[in-house]
Symmetry: D2
């Protein structure tokens, strides 16, 4: 089959590789029908945390073509969406939808190591299938289903961990695809005001189309503008969807005393310069996570299937898998107003 392979920094190619087989009796093999490139793939693309030869991709959906003997919940022919994150699939945490809390230390992300090849490919092997896949129900489009494999759950967990109460004023820092998913998820908790922050004009325009206020940090800084908009007090909650030291600290500085900062941006920093004394005097709650994707499906799938949540406009580019090298270049370079790229494994 064909798969997107990371050769080194800024170097991916589509290669013909062996077809995957079942990982074990609890696994399935999926014929990939749609897949996407995630912002976190760029960490690998830039050479961070990467093993050469990795098959990339953790956002994919498809049809089940083979099932292990112990799989109960899906059958050959079922169309499924696959969690970008898996655990052992058997422990209490995995079975409850929290693979990042796997009691057997089995947490892993597709497409980030040689042990768990990714889904930017024609086929993918999925271990622990009962815990990590879900049938795609009527009413959910393929593009929506792909978003349910990672970034919509990531944004939703970020919002659900931000302690938003009806009528609150919140800020969302970073309006890339994850930030937009976080913003739409935050609206599920009915804040009265959302201050959406990003330096890129077309991203702010996207947020404005959703119906929220926007802030360009170039106009005097994030903190200053959030404080001004809130009478000097700070936002009740701040969601951060970038992962940079500066934007995480902007979030901490922009939240009100007693408020909550929830980070869904990816940080690889082991010594982030955290303004601890400020956090202490304000008495904040600070949360950060890699999303436990399946834990969100009982909430998100009905909302999408019933037309109450429409995240799919984050897709700006649709390309064939064979153009993956171009796709990564465009996405990394933020060319053409790109937000998110869908890849078609049949092309």
């Amino acid at each position: 089959m064909r798969a997107v392979v990371l050769n080194g920094a800024h170097d991916v190619s589509v290669e013909t590789v062996d077809d995957p087989g079942l990982s074990g009796p609890d696994g399935i093999v999926v014929q990939v029908e749609s897949t996407a490139i995630c912002g976190s793939d760029l960490h690998l693309y830039h050479g961070d945390m990467a093993e050469p030869g990795v098959h990339l991709g953790h956002e994919f959906i498809g049809s089940v073509v083979e099932t292990g003997a112990d799989v109960d919940t899906v059958s050959t022919g079922d169309r499924v969406l696959v969690s970008g994150v898996v655990g052992c699939g058997a422990c209490r945490e995995c079975r409850s939808g929290w693979p990042m809390r796997c009691l057997n230390a089995g947490s892993a992300v597709f497409g980030t190591s040689l042990e768990l090849p990714g889904g930017q490919a024609e086929f993918a092997a999925v271990p622990g299938a009962d815990a990590s896949v879900r049938r795609i129900p009527d009413g959910v489009t393929d593009e929506q289903a792909v978003l349910l494999t990672d970034i919509l759950p990531t944004g939703f967990l970020g919002a659900s961990r931000a302690d938003i109460t009806p009528g609150a004023t919140i800020a969302v820092i970073g309006l890339g695809p994850v930030g937009i998913c976080a913003l739409r998820s935050a609206l599920l908790y009915s804040p009265a005001r959302v201050l959406a922050v990003d330096p890129v004009a077309h991203r702010r325009a996207h947020a404005e189309r959703i119906g929220v206020e926007t802030i360009d940090p170039a106009d005097g800084g994030t903190m200053a503008q959030v404080l001004e908009a809130t009478g000097g007090r700070g936002a009740d909650a701040v969601i951060e969807a970038v992962g940079h030291d500066e934007t995480i600290n902007d979030a901490i500085m922009s939240v009100k005393p007693g408020g909550t900062v929830s980070v869904v941006g990816v940080s690889t920093n082991l010594a982030h310069p955290f303004p601890m004394a400020i956090a202490m005097f304000k008495g904040i709650t600070f949360r950060i996570c890699v999303a436990d994707i399946p834990s969100t499906w009982d909430s998100l799938i009905p909302l999408v299937a019933n037309g109450r949540l429409h995240p799919e406009d984050v897709f700006t580019h649709r390309m064939g898998l064979s153009s993956a090298a171009d796709a990564y270049r465009v996405f990394d370079g933020r060319e053409d107003g790109v937000m998110k790229v869908l890849l078609d494994p049949t092309a």
Copy 2:
């Protein structure tokens, strides 16, 4: 009157100063009957954050000798305990017991600035009295009442913000007076196991008398021992009561995936080296605060008054106010197995 004055680093003396008057119509004047030295006073004693001439002390109780015209809840002659922290006293947050969230930016700690002279003195002026003092009820001893002005509420807020569920395994890092108050408060939430961590033997012995397991970090490190005690998983919750960079990071490294770290230690670091990537992969909740003392009284005062909470054994030394210079030296030097020093303003 006499008051303890900070002259400079490692230099305090008892001086005769003007008697305080009412701060305003919402204020009262208290004749101090008992006061204590807090670990956070040592930050001032060491020269951090200090203005020369400050009258020290934020832990004190006494009798009301004068009341402003707008004070509703206490009268002359009432014996009261006073929150070490005050706000404007009038806004919704202050009236609800959260002076650190004061909507009028009025948060302040007694005895840390010239504007709000402290209570290690014969008399003290208390602004916003309706929000910041409470009558001492029957069943509460003077020593208990002094602890209710700061460190028991601080420990309790640390415990209550740690998301402890019945049957959990938790760690408490730091077994000084605040740590012991946090430990006793944590027990209110009924963990099955408490791992109490401190390098000082007599502090660990104190925790063992309370009935919990102890860890000496010298025996291989805090994280390694907590992980070993929890089957490699980490504690469900960790309370940190030191405030050093190392111990805060020990807390983060020792908590389980999905767990909560709650810091009540005082950190003055504006760029704490936070292991953000670890926090992210574990998906933790991190909290830190300066305690909103009055918010805890409805819980703590009945528990103390009904004999269900006994924090008073943290007092190891009782001295006269006139010996304050000695008291600070003993406390700072951790001499004589000192845990906490009570000062008697009449001596």
Copy 3:
């Protein structure tokens, strides 16, 4: 001034009565600018719980024309909305917005007793004003403000006490004005599906315009239809907005095992035939309340002022105060597709 007076069952008239004066130093007098008839007024109109001579009305807004010496938060000339429910105004519960939990047993509803004359009048005296009124901010229309004095908060508390999680399937039984407010409030918590139940076609049509599914109980009963719509399981949460024995029991029978029933309908039954054994086997949570109006304003006022919540279409009739007798007759008779009647004190 003129006021609507209850003479007896089904007998109201507009009478000239003495102008009200301040109730005390914590009170204000309001010149009423807009007022409404509430479904619960009909309990009085039908002769239940009524004292002859009562001045009716607990939903009103207006301008402050006189203030007591102790009132801090509003001044003469301010336009205010007034909680339909008041307490002593001074205790911790009242000051926090929960007058029905008044520690001084001061809970009362305007217009239900001779002691607290109502607001269907040209002027009204409001005790404990700091706890029971709020300035009407920019962005809130008069009709919206009237709804914020009772039925929108009532519906919102019903929804907020129903434990709705994003993606849930819920039922709302009763689509009168309170039911519609509960339905709109429930949507703030982002259920995926709402089953709105009412026997009256135009009320169901109202719900359908809001965008939810409807059930006519005549088509086989409420329980049967809710169970069928939920695969035999029951709704995650049910809000009841009628108050009859049958509809409350429909709610209990229609909720899933482990689910929550939240009642905002008014019941005067002291021996409601509660299906306790069913409730026990299902393990439900059951809540009912008279709404603590002010507790909701921090959430609701920003949502209305920012255009995120539009309850005002419940008003179907606008009449002059002088036509109050007609207004009660039309409202009681459910004539002309009436949902809710606004009264103009100047006409």
Copy 4:
């Protein structure tokens, strides 16, 4: 084998019956080592809800002697405690410990129907074993383990559903074995005061030995005494552990405005005379359930195993299985100060 069989009202005998076999591939067979009579068995003994020929008993522990092919978590020879309540064992709710919420409508109680024979016998078949049994860990005695099969979890769920906060004043109505377990569980949430209510002197004495205040309802009624003890306000939370109409209503009448009533008594009433208007004006939360036993084990087993919870003194009588008829008579007649009877299947 021998088993306790219900022949009719007030008529049980020990009969020789067929040994049970595996219920299916997810089942196990247990050799019973200890079993007990529960207050709810008396409903059957009195002829309520009973099928003649039922094998009684839902509280039992023992050794696994046979396992189905699909059982993962226990093996032959393991000593296990068994949930008195089971579901299908396979659905998400059952696997999470909530068999009463079984998505396949499989909720059932051992020993209440011919389909699920009970554990007052030498052997018992347990379906869905992975969801309904747990190995007995070191530190848990046999008597404690028997209590973990029903009444300690029942009391604990009652307490955990009562919204008790540290420092609260609560009431517990009914001090039989379940009431004592509820009382001990309530103490895990650290109320400052517990008012324990029962007309039987030795039961009140039991509560006093635990260290709480007691009320004899004969001294003027439950409500009047609870109100007097709480300054007229009512208890913050009330746990009911009887199930009679009068005591449930006592609970509702004794709770404060805004408080919570949590019922663990068994009611078979389908038209309980609920004081709805009172509940409404007070704005209460009311909960009742049959306990989802396994959901409590992660909390309770560590607490018992670590010596923090000691419920075992509810056992007053230890008898052989062969004396079951006597045992039921003694228990039903409340003879000899009986609280709870343990039965030994080997005798």
